[in-house]
Symmetry: C2
Subunit: 365 residues, 2 copies
DNA sequence: CTGAAAGCGCTTACAG
DNA sequence: CTGAAAGCGCTTACAG
């Protein structure tokens, strides 16, 4: 393999370009930024000089210092990249943010709250506390949430939180009607005659345990999203047993469903409310394995409205949350805050989608 | 919802902190950076003053200008965020990059080559040509590849390309033995007695067509990865028909396999080589639908070695590529280049994994 | 261990 | 339309 030379050459500066073009630095600057009035002839002379010197344009570092803006918005993930990006909702949200932040969808600095052993590390000084960001979007609530906000606040960086714990702070939030939406889904099941309903839940906290949900676990739960959706389901089915998966994955849904569907046909649930579409897909897989027909013998309902790849021929009954729109709203909120405007929090509504995975409760003969 | 006040306050400066602590700016700077020797008493005085003034630390923008480094590395995607992140290999690679770039896995600026209508846009000046990045990793080859490299080169930004077209430029590359690895997989099938083998391929170009592969399409193909894997399969099975999916998704694999498996049992393929694990998962789904048992009646082999969520009980026979390691290598390469070292390109090897989706060719009775 | 000075490369009022 | 000047906030040799 060829070794490539990467000696750091001396980059030319705007001053050098200006000198060669025979104009002042101010004029050269104007020629590049397109601000202020410059005669075509002069601009051309400057650009020509730049070409000759192989000058690629103003140094963004200097520009940010002078302008007091870097043009970069941080996206703070609560887990490492690999985990965060397995969640299609997070990706859709990220996509929405980037879309709003510039049609070139650029300028997103990915940061994580996974600090810890960062100390003895090499010098990568880009952390929440010293990244050159103009604003930040916090994705999801987490134990470090408060800390992150405090850090950012102290730096004067505007913050928007997506699905944080409401009332955490007087911070701009992008929220979701998790409880109400789940309740709507549950009512759909009720209307179909279901009474034996079980819940496959997301993680209640950072432990990511696979286990039955108990009142103790609920009391200790830290994930607002999980708790809200759980409450919504139990608004309609107060006694529905719930089992948490170790994450929002098909395989976790499958494992949870295998637990919940293990009983006799006569007393196993006739419907399962999953807290995400991926979990719901796993529930369907488990049902297939056990020879339980969906939706004839088991109704399944999800949450998210993402197209689960490979789920065909099922069209999942679910609550479609406007993930990309939430991202765009977050992006817009950051922009507005940067413009110095007051910004209000927003509550989004998930829409019920009736697919082909729910049906009337089977008649017992 | 409450509106939050975000008036941009006047942030204190290091100079203000120094003044309050009764020391020079130099000393205050030292107190924060931990470089140079400062007496404990002095440092404490500085930090105290900072606390009193609510100073959160040196401004990263000024620091980058002075140091000539921003601490940020750009990751250039060839498509928009939402598409790039549906590929588990890209995510694993990204994770490897971020891991290497700092254990806090921070400092990754996501950029895309999707320019186009960026002109009339609001001022988000963060593009490939003016992002404050110290280095860049190009993820995947693309038509704009050359252009991106040129832009970055002109700026003096060190570039590492993952799976670009080799020989594109004298650029540092992280490559993969796509052809040889696929050939190894094909030879495994041959050893099992298979002769009627078909290929489900990734996209050949940006068209993302679902169609049979023809010599013309190969000649016009721009995706090195697809072409290399195709060549590897045909090294062993020169006449194997190939069908391209519109992307690396389970559903695309399913559709392609439905085409390829449509014939009579007596002349349909007994084995399918898929160019990604997601495609392979789709092939398995299609086989299930058609009542073709895997691996008894159809052997399926993938590429990537990602755990496809929800594929249980299948353990896919595949070529495991070291995606995270490739990312780490890219990260390390960028770091080395920033340190002024010469860096060589690297070629990675995918390892054959024999799962339970391949078996001897069925006996025809 | 501490301070005075220079300067990173640009942009932006301000004059003309 | 163009230029001279100041300064964004910091860090880094260099002296002491």
């Amino acid at each position: 393999m060829t070794a490539v030379d990467n000696s750091v050459e001396h980059r030319p500066t705007l001053a050098a370009v200006a000198a060669r073009a025979g104009v002042s630095a101010s004029t050269a600057s104007l020629a590049f930024s397109g601000t202020g009035p410059v005669s075509d002839a002069t601009r051309e002379r400057v650009l020509q000089a730049a070409r000759e010197l192989n000058y690629a344009g103003p140094d963004p570092r200097a520009r940010s210092l002078r302008r007091g803006r870097s043009g970069i918005v941080g996206v703070v993930l609560e887990e490492r990249v690999r985990d965060a990006f397995r969640d299609p909702i997070k990706i859709a949200t990220l996509d929405g943010i980037s879309e709003e932040l510039g049609s070139i969808d650029a300028g997103l600095l990915v940061l994580t709250e996974v600090a810890g052993e960062a100390e003895g590390d090499e010098k990568n000084p880009v952390t929440l506390s010293d990244a050159p960001i103009d604003g930040a979007v916090l994705m999801g609530c987490s134990p470090r949430f408060e800390e992150s906000i405090a850090t950012l606040r102290a730096r004067g960086v505007p913050v928007v939180a997506i699905e944080g714990n409401p009332g955490d702070d007087d911070i701009v939030m992008i929220l979701q009607d998790n409880r109400e939406a789940t309740r709507r889904g549950a009512e759909h099941l009720k209307a179909l005659g279901h009474t034996r309903v079980a819940i496959v839940a997301l993680s209640l906290d950072r432990d990511h345990r696979r286990a039955l949900v108990t009142p103790e676990r609920i009391a200790a739960g830290t994930s607002a999203t999980t708790l809200e959706r759980l409450a919504g389901a139990r608004d309609v089915f107060p006694d529905a047993p719930a089992y948490t998966g170790a994450g929002s994955y098909v395989e976790e849904g499958r494992l949870a469903a295998l637990e919940l569907l293990s009983g006799e046909a006569s007393d196993r649930p006739t419907a399962i409310i999953a807290q995400s579409d991926l979990l719901a897909a796993g529930v369907i897989r488990a049902a297939e394995e056990l020879g339980i027909a969906v939706p004839e013998q088991l109704s399944v309902i999800g949450f998210d409205g993402v197209k689960v790849d490979g789920l065909w021929p099922y069209d999942l009954t679910t609550l479609v949350q406007p993930a990309a729109e939430k991202g765009r709203a977050a992006g817009r909120a950051v922009k507005a805050m940067l413009a110095g405007n007051d910004v209000a929090s927003r509550l989004f509504t998930a829409e019920f989608h009736e697919g082909n995975t729910t049906a009337p409760v089977p008649v017992v003969e």
